[in-house]
């Protein structure tokens, strides 16, 4: 189960909805600030997940956070910043990674922004290689499956990727490896479907009606749901997680999401008209229920903007990694085995 407690009907609960909304806003402000940094030479390449806030915040809140097999393992992709924000990661840390300063807690200034990693929360390194996380997830899930077979508590493994990546054979591998008879894995596969692979519409490349349908051939439970609406994303993810936790079996969840700023820096990272914004519709709900006034909503945005601005100022004051550290962590415990002639 999640490491947090929630109301029985969370989206009828004023406090929960306001907290959820604040996280969505912080997520969006963070992504827009990262885009701005990339465009103004405050960093380099940007890639992220504006438009996927409902999915990411829901997942981050529902996860059983912690270290070790009793907690959930997360194999995220480069649109998952909101997951960590919801888990409690400060906005500053993502900005540090964009600035590639030595204080970047995910990679020490070595990797692109949104390539997160946090061992004490079972968040394994995000990779730029598409879909390889679907090959590694069966490994963490297998370790958890073995624990379950000993009647011990275990978390589940969650892997997430985009729709275009499902064209890789690695996605099919995950379906096969997670459903081996008698050794089914406690593995939740989430595909966020924004209907594009960089510039290529999915409909021009994929003949299958729904990605989720591919699970049916393996007897894997599957669902396709709206990932833009906070309520529907929450419901779909919580149901899927509950199934995997209870049954110890795999589940494929396809969530239809928006891609508000295109693929990445490579496509310009400009706002795309015509994509549905998860936050705007949620704002309307808060106003309609009189849970927040317009002024209060504006304050939520302003607070997030101030948090981002402060974070940028902090990160700007921090230094890039020292070049003398380039070999650090080539091997565990900084074992010496680096440049020939220098270390051995």
């Amino acid at each position: 189960m999640s490491s947090r407690k929630f109301p029985a009907q969370p989206f009828k609960d004023k406090k929960f909805c306001i907290d959820f909304f604040k996280l969505m806003v912080r997520n969006r402000v963070l992504e827009e600030r990262l885009i701005k940094m990339a465009k103004s030479s405050d960093g380099f390449f940007w890639i992220g997940g504006p438009g996927e806030e409902s999915t990411n915040i829901s997942l981050g809140l529902l996860v059983n956070k912690g270290h070790g097999l009793k907690h959930d393992f997360l194999h995220l992709h480069y649109r998952s910043n909101g997951v960590l924000l919801a888990m409690g990661q400060p906005m500053l840390d993502f900005i540090r990674q964009m600035r590639c300063v030595s204080t970047d807690p995910f990679s020490g200034g070595r990797n692109f922004v949104s390539h997160v990693c946090r061992r004490d929360w079972n968040i394994v390194p995000v990779t730029s290689t598409i879909e390889t996380q679907f090959l590694m997830a069966p490994g963490t899930a297998r370790a958890q499956m073995k624990l379950r077979k000993q009647d011990k508590d275990s978390g589940i493994t969650v892997v997430i990727g985009g729709d275009a990546g499902t064209a890789e054979g690695d996605f099919a591998s995950c379906l096969i490896w997670s459903s081996r008879p008698g050794e089914e894995l406690p593995l939740l596969m989430i595909v966020t479907n924004n209907q594009y692979g960089i510039s290529t519409p999915a409909g021009t490349q994929h003949g299958e009606k729904h990605i989720a349908d591919r699970a049916k051939a393996f007897g894997i439970k599957c669902e396709r749901a709206d990932g833009v609406s906070p309520e529907k994303a929450w419901e779909a993810i919580s149901e899927a997680m509950e199934y995997v936790r209870e049954k110890g079996k795999p589940y494929l969840l396809e969530l239809m999401v928006s891609r508000l700023y295109g693929h990445s820096s490579s496509s310009g990272a400009n706002y795309i008209d015509g994509e549905e914004c998860p936050i705007k519709s949620f704002e309307k709900k808060l106003l309609k229920n009189e849970w927040l006034s317009k002024a209060q909503i504006e304050k939520v945005w302003n607070d997030a903007l101030e948090e981002a601005a402060t974070a940028v100022a902090t990160a700007r004051s921090e230094s890039w990694p020292d070049p003398s550290t380039v070999l650090d962590h080539s091997f565990a415990n900084n074992q010496k085995a680096g440049l020939p002639g220098r270390d051995f």
Partner: protein, 354 residues
Amino acid sequence: MANMAQAIRLALHYGETHLGVTDIFGEDVGAPLGGVFTCTQGLKSTWNTPLDERGIIGTAIGLALAGGKPVAEIQFCDYIFNTIDLLKLAGNSCWSSNGQYPLSMVVMTPSGAGIHGSLYHSHSFDAWATRLAGWKVVMPSNPADAYGLMLAAIEDPNPVLFMAPKALIRVKGETLIAGEPASEKELKEMIDAPIGDARKGWKPKWPKLEFTPVELGKGSIARDGSDAVVVTYGRHVHIATKVADELASEGRGSVRVVDLRSLYPYDWNLISESLRNCGGRILFLNEDTEITNFGEHLLRRTIEEHYYELRARPRLIAGRHVPGVGLAPPLEDASIPQAAQIKEELTALLAERT
């Protein structure tokens, strides 16, 4: 004496009972076969996988991310090529996470020619492997070293690629592994799975083994000599040793043969010392293809660091740069360094005067 397959099996048994090995897996690795080369017969942690090399390496990474200690097998290194991005990811996990996620995992795979394996059972992977930063890479030339190197690989907190020379997997050793019974027959009865129906319900009787790792990065001297040195590994240790013995008996010179055992990290101190003590004459030898061959790196370093100590032109003998190893014996022999070619080159090396 144990053969290399038995030695690997003994090391894996020690690993799963003393060193925390959690999973030993790959295609046909589990019962009933126990590996196409029988390296995994009778082990308690083995399981069979789908025929999916990417899935095997990915799962090994996942198990290591979860804190396990997996040993994954790729049935032949000829089939490891489609996993190379995953090998890169395993190699950079510790570095890219700034030390958060080192991966303690072993991938073992048979490498090289010598079994008439045609195009896709004769590949070498050593030159490719040494380009995988973040990995340690080993290749034993005898069962005792296979045992010791596997123990060290399992114990190491980093990814280690263990390549077994295909042609040597059935070859018996010359020294007993610590704990191995002196009688080959007794060992066979203890740990080799019987054939046919008798295999059902069979369980091995493991000897009481000792922990005798071979330190990663330490080579050995397979044959000592003083006039020239051959630096090699795997199957060519034996071929070079045979040639060295012939040259000595013919009075043409005394040739040292260095068995690197570890390709990364490699024993540069032993190479340097050997060059200085063997008349400034050195030959690097391996069977991977010659363009961007690992031996070229060693050759370059030799020239940069020992140029003024060389008494003759340093040499490299490697496999021919052909797209595959042909099945017909004359084609394989023309692709892979053979004793005659090595003898000819060594004879010239010994005779050269600067």
